[in-house]
């Protein structure tokens, strides 16, 4: 075991998978010689060469589209989009082809590809560099949408995503890349896609979060515990397919829930979580479900970033409302 940042944990996952399976390759802007602008792919080109680690021209649709061709031919491309805010240039290739190739060819061809990108705010970045549009991908059948929250689960989920036979969009919370270290086993570890995890047990209220929002949610849980409230905290890990059974079981027990995401409120992932809870836990709701989210504005330039992003205070206040 070693204590690794998320950045190092992701790098470990990539290196071990590339070692284990020579069809795995990495492609994107500045991923080779530069090791990626966040250094997630550091060292890979020296180890595996420039055929398996491709510094591509500046062209997101082609990064995904060429990756699709590579995947159909039997490679396992891991496409890096430099920031999730630039992924929209590739969304047509994802929706029109990556998501459909298996279905369109009746199972003859498939696209075991990962498209990974840093997402979310909190690092005082430029415009477009703090985006959180996971719903675009979650609403697209044929894709999976995964968002880790810490070093260990990021490593395990990325390995699972790489091994998954279908296209996975993997958003990495950049605010967590180097925020803290965590024990990460040297030996390989996976986590199943589509399964959430209970991070903290409690019988009074359920708090659901993912990505960089897990930390303020755990902070809020601490504050609530100090007030004598016992919150149950669920870390989604996968947005689609959603582990609605775990969330519903918790809400059936607790009756009150707060969902936290930095993405804009309207039509965000929180809405679907609410919908699943209506479908699976309706009769156990004691109070209106709460969602603490980004406002329905464009993510502000970084001087106002903190005001935009959910924090522990907002989550606690929402919990109070849900506990009325």
């Amino acid at each position: 075991m070693a204590k690794l940042t998320m950045a190092k944990a992701l790098n470990l996952a990539l290196a071990q998978e590339m070692e284990r399976d020579e069809s795995v390759c990495v492609m994107g802007e500045d991923v080779g010689r530069d090791g990626g602008v966040f250094r997630i792919t550091e060292g890979l080109i020296d180890r595996f060469g420039d055929v398996r680690v491709m510094d591509t021209p500046l062209a997101e649709s082609a990064i995904v589209g060429v990756g699709i061709g590579m995947a159909v031919a039997g490679l396992k491309p891991i496409c890096e989009i430099q920031f999730s805010g630039f992924s929209y240039m590739g969304i047509d290739q994802l929706e029109s082809h990556a998501a459909r190739m298996r279905w369109r060819s009746r199972g003859r061809w498939s696209v075991p590809m990962v498209v990974r990108a840093p997402y979310g705010g909190g690092v005082r970045a430029l415009e477009h560099h703090s985006e959180s549009k996971e719903v675009y991908y979650a609403h697209t059948p044929g894709l999976k949408m995964v968002i880790p929250s810490g070093p260990r689960n990021a490593r395990a989920l990325l390995v699972s995503a790489i091994r998954d036979p279908d296209p996975v969009v993997f958003f990495e919370p950049k605010a967590v890349y180097r925020a803290f270290r965590e024990e990460v086993p040297d030996e390989e570890e996976t986590l199943p896609l589509g399964k959430a995890r209970i991070v903290r047990e409690g019988g009074d209220i359920t708090l659901v979060a993912y990505g960089s929002m897990l930390r303020p949610t755990l902070e809020a849980a601490e504050q609530l515990a100090g007030e004598g409230v016992e919150p149950e905290v669920i870390d989604l890990l996968t947005i689609s397919p959603l582990d609605d059974e775990m969330i519903a079981a918790s809400v059936r027990k607790n009756g009150r829930v707060v969902v936290v995401h930095e993405a804009q409120r309207s039509f965000g992932a929180g809405a679907e979580i609410f919908a699943r809870l209506i479908e699976k836990a309706f009769w156990y709701l004691e109070a209106p479900m709460e969602r603490v989210t980004g406002y329905d504005v464009i993510v502000p330039f970084f001087a106002r970033e903190k005001a935009y992003l959910p924090d522990a205070g907002r989550i606690v206040r929402a919990a109070h409302r849900a506990l009325l």
């Binding site: 390759c25 055929v51 398996r52 491709m54 591509t56 021209p57 062209a59 649709s61 082609a62 995904v64 589209g65 060429v66 990756g67 699709i68 061709g69 590579m70 995947a71 159909v72 031919a73 039997g74 490679l75 491309p77 047509d92 290739q93 029109s96 082809h97 190739m101 298996r102 279905w103 369109r104 060819s105 009746r106 199972g107 003859r108 061809w109 498939s110 059948p141 044929g142 999976k144 036979p165 279908d166 589509g194 397919p241 959603l242 609605d244 059974e245």
Partner: protein, 360 residues
């Protein structure tokens, strides 16, 4: 210093071998045995007749919207013929003729046109991708397929077909640029049929030729008479050899013409003249190739009559097979192949769906 002209170190050429009358420039005729020459004609004729039958069936409401390939038989079959089965075939939505060269079952194409997902299954043993409808989006796939082949130590190549309209799309540009940088064994086969629905070639782009767009990527480009199956074949053979030898991609612009409508939902009388169509009818690919083969003693009127009959029966047989498969379409087929392993929520939806259609 005064302006100096930059040497681009490449030129764009035009290649034509078989003229409209069926006379061939013997020095340029590619090396093709009699069987292959015969097969080239047979498949062109099969494509033509199949196209006609599809149109008929669509007008009768038995099939849905489709894109006729009439006029582009040489451009597609000439380009497909030099490739091996393991070479990748990446079509757009109009490559029926090329698909027929690849022995794609007619019944499958009929099923596809009748709106059945089952019709999308590529023929066994072929490295064929399914029909791709969003214009130009298939072009990067052929770059990746080619890249993978080389990474896997194979000498397979990938050919991708697209139209004149497709050259305006960003994916066309990004893909060919990638191919030039990584020197992928990809053949970019542009079917310049002069139209993109109602937009004529001159309004699609201001460059005089489409082939010259290759200069933007530093890759070889050539323009050929797309109605001349021998020229298309010769140019493609060259491109295939270069690609297999590790020398990278080639862009081939086939000058041809969309003799029929864009799709069966189109009305060309709104935007082009009958005279223009007639002009191009005279240049169409089957007539000249038939004359050439006749001049070579490889085809006779009786042989053509025999072929016509054979083809007619083949098409009818396929249509009968397709209709059998079209009875009782199990609608839960729509839940298949979304993922390798259907997730729980999808299985639940399928079960609920099955219950609903069961009766409630």
């Amino acid at each position: 210093m005064p302006r100096t002209e930059i040497d681009l170190q490449q030129t764009i050429s035009y290649l034509s071998i078989l003229d409209e009358e069926g006379n061939a420039d013997e020095e340029l005729v590619p090396d093709l045995d009699d069987d292959t020459l015969h097969r080239l004609f047979r498949v062109m004729l099969l494509s033509r007749r199949f196209d006609e039958r599809l149109l008929q069936l669509q007008r009768q409401g038995r099939l849905g919207t489709f894109a006729p390939v009439k006029g582009q038989e040489a451009a597609q079959i000439g380009a497909m013929a030099p490739l091996r089965r393991t070479d990748w075939f990446v079509p757009s939505f109009r490559e029926t003729a090329a698909a027929l060269w690849r022995d794609t079952p007619l019944s499958g194409l009929l099923l596809y046109n009748a709106g059945f997902n089952e019709g999308g299954l590529p023929p066994e043993g072929n490295n064929d991708l399914p029909i791709a409808i969003p214009v130009a989006t298939q072009v990067p796939h052929a770059v990746g397929l080619g890249y993978a082949a080389r990474a896997q130590g194979k000498d397979d190549v990938a050919i991708v077909f697209f139209g004149d309209g497709a050259t305006s799309e960003g994916d066309f540009h990004e893909a060919i640029n990638f191919s030039g940088v990584f020197s992928t064994p990809t053949i970019f086969l542009c079917q310049n049929n002069q139209w993109a629905i109602s937009v004529p070639r001159e309004k699609q782009t201001h460059s005089r030729t489409l082939a010259q767009k290759a200069i933007a990527y530093g890759i070889p480009g050539i323009q050929v008479d797309g109605n001349d199956v021998l020229a298309v074949y010769a140019a493609t053979v060259e491109a295939v050899e270069r690609a297999r030898a590790g020398e990278g991609p080639t862009f081939i612009e086939c000058i041809t013409y969309r003799l029929s409508l864009h799709t069966t939902a189109d009305d060309p009388s709104r935007y082009r003249s009958e005279e223009e169509v007639q002009t191009w009818e005279r240049k169409e690919p089957l007539i000249r190739f038939r004359r050439y083969l006749e001049s070579r003693g490889l085809l006779s009127d009786q042989e053509v009559e025999r072929l016509e009959q054979e083809i007619k029966e083949e098409i009818e047989q396929a249509w009968q097979e397709a209709q059998v498969q079209m009875e009782n379409p199990d609608p839960s087929v729509m839940f298949e192949h979304i993922y390798a392993d259907p997730p729980d929520y999808l299985q639940a939806q399928r079960a609920a769906f099955q219950k609903e259609i069961g009766g409630g």
